[in-house]
């Protein structure tokens, strides 16, 4: 079972597709959740997901706007897609019939 942040990271990576790398994923998570995403949490969670075989990462090309430094590119694996789908399904099922609206 995934953790909340792990799920958010998989969502951002899947959404970005070919353009998924550290800074872009971080920006996507902050944009979609409205919360700050710390660099430490991002990279250590990426390592954990990679160790579980849910994502794969590699060093991509350098660009001038990055000061000539490489990107850490990320891709969701088939196992990662299944884990994200299972997590999403669990949340949907667990929320069925509930309303969280407050007065």
């Amino acid at each position: 079972m995934l953790g909340e942040f792990e799920y958010l990271l998989l969502c951002a990576t899947a959404r970005l597709g070919e353009d998924a790398y550290g800074a872009a994923i971080r920006h996507d998570i902050e944009h979609s959740t409205g919360r700050r995403c710390s660099l430490g949490a991002l990279y250590t969670t990426l390592d954990r997901l990679e160790a579980k075989g849910l994502v794969e990462t590699w060093m991509g090309g350098a660009t001038p706007q990055r000061g000539g430094r490489s990107k850490r590119m990320v891709r969701v694996t088939a196992k990662g897609l299944r884990a994200a789908a299972a997590f999403c399904g669990t949340v949907v099922r667990a929320s069925r019939g509930l309303s969280w609206e407050t007065n």
């Binding site: 550290g22 800074a23 660099l39 430490g40 990279y43 060093m59 990055r66 490489s70 850490r72």
Partner: protein, 384 residues
């Protein structure tokens, strides 16, 4: 301020793996993040990475096996060296007179004192370099934490114990250079810089070639054998409850431990085909200090007055009857004195103290590894 923050970001990011460092610094550049924010983000990542590294055994072995014991040991030895050498330096630098070169005895003293100082310096540098090398080999990515702790232990004793372990010679301690600068310079130059060099070499090489290892092993073993007595005295000066205990006999072994590690991890396979070479060299390295120890003996004792009260600052002289070499020490505030690692042979012991009659005990035989207690009860000198 921003420049300082970016400088810190650059320095701190070096603790990360090269690929990760590249990715993180690239992310900062692309996001145009403020320097302070970048530093906070980076520190968060580095702390998480360090916490993960400390779940392995290697940094703990480096901390408990090298940083703590050798930080304390080298700090004590260095402090003792600085304080005991201060008197020698003062004698020759501040009170120089050509009379020091006139008589053969004075010249011999000059050479002996100079050689003693150089020997101690070399021993400290070698112990520190090998300790640094082992520290670097054991904890590569956690090195900066262990290095900071090593530094803290090395200089911590100076802050914790402000008074001099050697309270005599107030004239020497009245000079700022001897009382303040030398105790700081000595650990910085003789311990910190060599250990830093050892750590840098360990990060580049991981293991040394058999030839380099053997050279280090022979140098360390010889120096440890020669400086074993100073090693014991320095610890005794700081930790008096250890006086004449078996723990002190093991100190020379502690000093060769780092080089033992280097021998065990050297690339022997290419040379000898298996691990027997490492074991053989390790035995030789440990045997030299042991042999040096087994040709010496310790003589501890207590000097008391007729009422059994301890006599402070009594001069105790041991004269070897064969070589005629004279060894001197004095009783401390508990009336205790110790001659450590005296060469074996027959000795005359003389005790002098102001207001008391001189006592001479002749023909005391020292045998291998003996710790022959020689207590003296002085009689009051009633002569006018």
């Amino acid at each position: 301020m921003a420049r300082i923050c970016w400088l810190l970001v650059d320095r701190v990011s070096r603790t990360l793996e090269p690929d990760e460092r590249d990715a993180v610094l690239g992310d900062f550049a692309e996001s145009r993040v403020a320097a302070g924010q970048a530093l906070r983000d980076l520190l968060g990542l580095v702390l998480r990475r360090q916490a993960a590294l400390w779940t392995h055994w290697r940094p703990w072995v480096a901390l408990l096996g090298v940083v703590v014991p050798f930080g304390i040991l080298l700090s004590l030895v260095c402090r003792w060296w600085a304080e005991s050498s201060a008197t020698t330096f003062y004698l020759y630098a501040n009170g120089w007179t050509w009379a020091y070169l006139e008589s053969p005895g004075a010249r011999l003293d000059l050479v002996r004192n100079g050689a003693g100082v150089i020997l101690d310096c070399l021993a400290l540098i070698c112990w520190s370099w090998t300790s640094g090398f082992v520290l670097g080999s054991l904890s590569r990515r956690t090195l900066w934490v262990n290095r900071a702790l090593f530094c803290l232990l090395l200089f911590g004793e100076l802050l914790a114990v402000r008074h001099h372990h050697n309270p005599y010679n107030p004239l020497v301690w009245s000079l700022t250079f001897y009382s303040l600068m030398l105790p700081v310079l000595a650990p910085a130059v003789l311990v910190f810089l060599p250990s830093l060099s050892g750590m840098r070499n360990a990060l580049r090489l991981t293991t040394l070639s058999p030839l380099q290892t053997m050279l280090w092993a022979v140098a360390i073993a010889t120096l440890t054998g020669l400086a074993a007595r100073d090693l014991e005295v320095s610890v005794m000066a700081a930790l008096w409850p250890l006086r004449a205990s078996w723990g002190l006999q093991l100190l020379p072994f502690a000093a060769v431990c780092p080089v033992g590690f280097m021998v065990a991890t050297a690339k022997w396979r290419r040379w000898l085909g298996d691990a027997t070479g490492s074991i053989l060299i390790l035995c030789i390295v440990t045997a030299i200090p042991v042999l040096a120890k087994t040709h010496t003996a310790n003589v501890p004792g207590v000097v008391t007055d007729p009422r059994g009260k301890r006599v402070v600052n009594a001069t105790v002289i041991a004269r070897n009857r064969d070589t005629k070499i004279v060894y001197r020490t004095s009783s401390d505030k508990w009336g205790s004195y110790t001659f450590t690692s005296l060469p074996l042979g027959s000795y005359d012991l003389t005790v002098k103290a102001q207001g008391f009659k001189q006592v001479v005990r002749s023909n005391i035989e020292l045998i291998v590894g003996a710790t022959g207690q020689q207590d003296f009860s002085l009689k009051v000198d009633e002569a006018p």
